[in-house]
């Protein structure tokens, strides 16, 4: 039987096993919306802004490993989604975006709601397509999912003109797809792996440095085995948190700009650095000329272009993290050489001295609510087992520092693009994928306002997310940089004219709470977590002078950290009123 392009598209989604799509209708997508109306297999979640659709699909993808699917209309529909697409691109998240387009005969005419979607998204997608003939539709959708989910994953856009969704053809979904110009490598080079293992076993001050690649590749288990087998210290990037269990004594915390003292010092002094699924981002390396000056570096990554991009590497290995680590485990188990116990002992003594600095200490007797205390309490009350999404700013760093994750895919944040507005919609995607889990969104009063309209989506689909708003009345991270690097000239970083978040939450049909005293923090969190079927917006009025520590200023080396929480001098609300 012949089907229309719109019906074919929906059938493709079903045959691809797609459970949810996140979208927003409009003229160019109306045939597709009609096809969605006439079926029940694929559930459509109607967001309130297309950016929210992309972030929700992204949260779904990050928490499940399955591709997120987005459907938007042409013109403003796709331009609104671009921030969410770029966010997914920077963090290598599998996503397929379908944008409606004006009919093929109008393309290029500046038609109503026409934009060059393929052109606009080109720099922030792994690949994109314009479908010009319904005969190409099913194979293009198949290719889109294939490209999005294999190799180094990423978003793929399919631009679908309205007339193509009305044309008819015979439907058959291809079982497999082969593309002569696209073959990602998975297996690492055996000779290189052997070389890496020899180097690892001979190390005196070894260090594992792993990133989001471990999570994307579902490689936590071989990583944990490998690190434990060797007894070496392990640090994770912001994107890699949860890949190695944070409660394991071999874990030395996050590294980088706001990483722990012990992680950064150990990086600096290491003699063999094993980097897996991490990309030596500038927020991690600091000054590259002073990066790991004593170390021989092994770098495993599925993307050859990541290797030796920022930092020279001694043993490059192109391959999937999982496949390469499994090979490493075999070789290490069979090897006669064992790690040098005396050297390792001395190394751990040194690391434990650094640990003794207690770099994450903060004032627990303060009169004002300390943001760190809120996160610590959240961690305790959720047994460290919640899914935590975040926005961007100080609260994001505090969540990363004070909510240790023992499992992958629990920590959902925009590390690469740093997109404010990500947290709430991402939490919707997570909650849909894990309806029985506790899902918290740690945010700030500036970030939450960037996608706050999604509170309405949460009401419609009954998504009882717990929003932890660390409200310091400042764009805290901006204010912190202004304090340090602009002689405390707080230019446009004070969040004036804030809404009453309690009333706002209530207006959307949710529960709102305002918490102003440290003594009320635990009770409020408990109460909110007990309300299993309600979205609760907790507005914590926090100490606005708090800064994120430790800190390596941009362009400094790992052993040049600021440790002491020197108090910020900022005009308080009262002085500004």
């Amino acid at each position: 039987m012949e089907l229309t392009g719109a019906d074919i598209f929906v059938r493709c989604l079903k045959d691809e096993g797609v459970e949810y799509i996140f979208g927003y209708p409009g003229g160019a997508a109306l045939h597709i919306y009609d096809a969605l109306y006439r079926q029940e297999d694929v559930k459509h979640i109607l967001v309130r802004h297309e950016q929210g659709a992309a972030h929700a699909a992204d949260g779904y993808a990050r928490s499940t490993g399955k591709p997120g699917v987005v459907l938007v209309t042409s013109g403003p529909g796709i331009t609104n989604a671009v921030t969410g697409i770029a966010t997914a691109y920077m963090d290598s998240i599998p996503m397929v975006i379908i944008s409606g387009q004006v009919p093929t005969h109008l393309i290029g005419d500046d038609a109503f709601q026409e934009v060059d979607a393929v052109g606009i998204t080109r720099p922030c997608v792994k690949h994109n397509f314009l479908v010009q003939d319904v005969a190409d539709l099913a194979i293009t959708i198949k290719k889109a999912f294939h490209i999005a989910t294999t190799g180094r994953p990423g978003p793929v856009l399919v631009d679908l003109p309205k007339d193509v969704t009305a044309q008819k053809t015979e439907y058959a979904y291809p079982k497999t797809v082969s593309m002569r110009s696209y073959h990602p490598t998975a297996k690492g080079h055996p000779g290189q792996i052997k070389k890496a293992v020899d180097l690892m076993l001979a190390a005196k001050r070894p260090m594992f440095y792993t990133g989001g690649g471990i999570i994307i590749d579902n490689a936590s288990q071989p990583l944990t085995e490998l690190v434990r087998l060797l007894g070496y210290p392990c640090t994770n990037t912001l994107m890699g948190l949860g890949a190695f269990p944070a409660n394991d004594p071999l874990f030395v915390g996050m590294l980088g700009m706001h990483g722990t003292y012990e992680a950064n010092m150990a990086m600096h002094d290491s003699d063999v650095l094993v980097a897996i699924g991490a990309r030596f981002d500038d927020r991690v390396t600091g000054d590259v000329s002073k990066f790991c000056p004593h170390a021989q570096i092994i770098h495993v990554d599925i993307d050859p272009a990541q290797i030796a991009k920022n930092v020279p590497v001694d043993v490059p290995i192109v391959g999937s993290a999982k496949a390469v680590m499994e090979e490493m485990l075999k070789l290490i188990r069979a090897a006669k050489q064992k790690p040098d116990p005396a050297a390792l002992d001395a190394w751990w003594k040194q690391i434990n001295t650094w640990r003794g600095q207690n770099c994450l200490e903060y004032d627990r007797d303060a009169k004002l609510i300390k943001p760190q205390y809120v996160i610590e309490t959240l961690h305790r009350l959720t047994n460290g087992d919640a899914y935590v999404t975040s926005d961007v700013g100080q609260h994001q760093m505090w969540a990363a520092q004070y909510y240790p994750f023992n499992e992958p895919r629990r920590w959902i944040n925009s590390g690469g693009l740093g997109t404010m507005g990500f947290g709430l919609p991402a939490a919707m995607g997570v909650k849909l994928a894990h309806p029985d889990a506790t899902v918290c969104c740690v945010t700030g009063e500036a970030s939450i306002q960037m996608c706050i309209q999604e509170l309405s989506t949460c009401k419609q689909y009954n998504l009882p997310i717990k929003i932890v708003n660390l409200n310091n009345r400042y764009m805290g991270m901006v204010r912190q940089w202004q304090e340090f690097f602009y002689e405390s000239r707080y230019s446009h970083s004070y969040m004036d004219a804030l809404p009453d978040f309690v009333k706002l939450a209530e207006a959307y049909g949710h529960v709102g709470m305002k918490i102003e005293k440290p003594g009320d923090v635990e009770g409020a969190l408990k109460e909110a977590l007990q309300m299993k079927d309600r979205l609760v917006f907790m507005d914590f009025i926090t100490d606005q002078t708090e800064n994120v520590y430790p800190m390596i200023a941009a362009g400094k080396a790992h052993n040049e950290m600021h440790l002491k929480p020197c108090k910020a001098v900022v005009p308080t609300d009262r002085e500004l009123a």
């Binding site: 393929v118 052109g119 080109r122 720099p123 792994k126 690949h127 994109n128 314009l130 490209i147 593309m179 002569r180 110009s181 696209y182 993307d303 050859p304 272009a305 030796a308 991009k309």
Partner: protein
């Protein structure tokens, strides 16, 4: 580079250069004997690290089938020049002599001008342009460099 002959493939290559701040000195592209593939020769410059990054980033493009750095071995490069110069009065014979020396061809003639065709390496074309500058150049059209490796091996499917 062998590139899928798909719409948008060329803009992906060009876009990558501008997005990452690499420069394109010249670029030529046309279909091959297999019409689903285009052959593209791109000239760029940079340190070894930069060239390595460019190569890796290009290889990542889904439309790039195969890529080689021709400067890694012996290779031949050719570029074609079409140039219109003043050829009136005393310059007429002088320009003709230069064309012969450079083994070019005069392919269009008016009372006052010649159109000359010349093929060779970029530096040969530049030398010729310098040589005829005195006569007065009206228009210069260069094709950009095409390249191929020497020896038996070919870049094929």
């Amino acid at each position: 580079m062998l590139l899928e002959n798909e719409s948008g493939a060329l803009s992906r290559v060009a876009g990558l250069f501008s997005a990452r701040g690499y420069n394109i000195e010249s670029l030529t592209v046309a279909p091959t004997e297999d019409e689903t593939l285009s052959r593209l020769t791109l000239v760029t410059s940079g340190s070894e690290d930069v060239i390595e990054q460019i190569t890796k980033q290009l290889n990542k493009l889904v439309d790039v089938y195969k890529l080689t750095d021709l400067t890694g071995g012996p290779y031949i490069e050719r570029e074609m020049l079409l140039i219109k110069v003043n050829a009136g009065g005393t310059m007429r014979d002088e320009v003709k002599r230069l064309v012969d020396i450079f083994r070019g061809r005069i392919i269009d003639v008016t009372d006052k001008t010649y159109v000359i065709e010349l093929t060779g390496t970029g530096s040969k074309l530049e030398a010729f342009i310098d040589a005829v500058r005195g006569a007065g150049i009206i228009e210069v059209v260069r094709s950009g460099v095409s390249g191929i490796a020497r020896g038996d091996k070919g870049m094929q499917i």
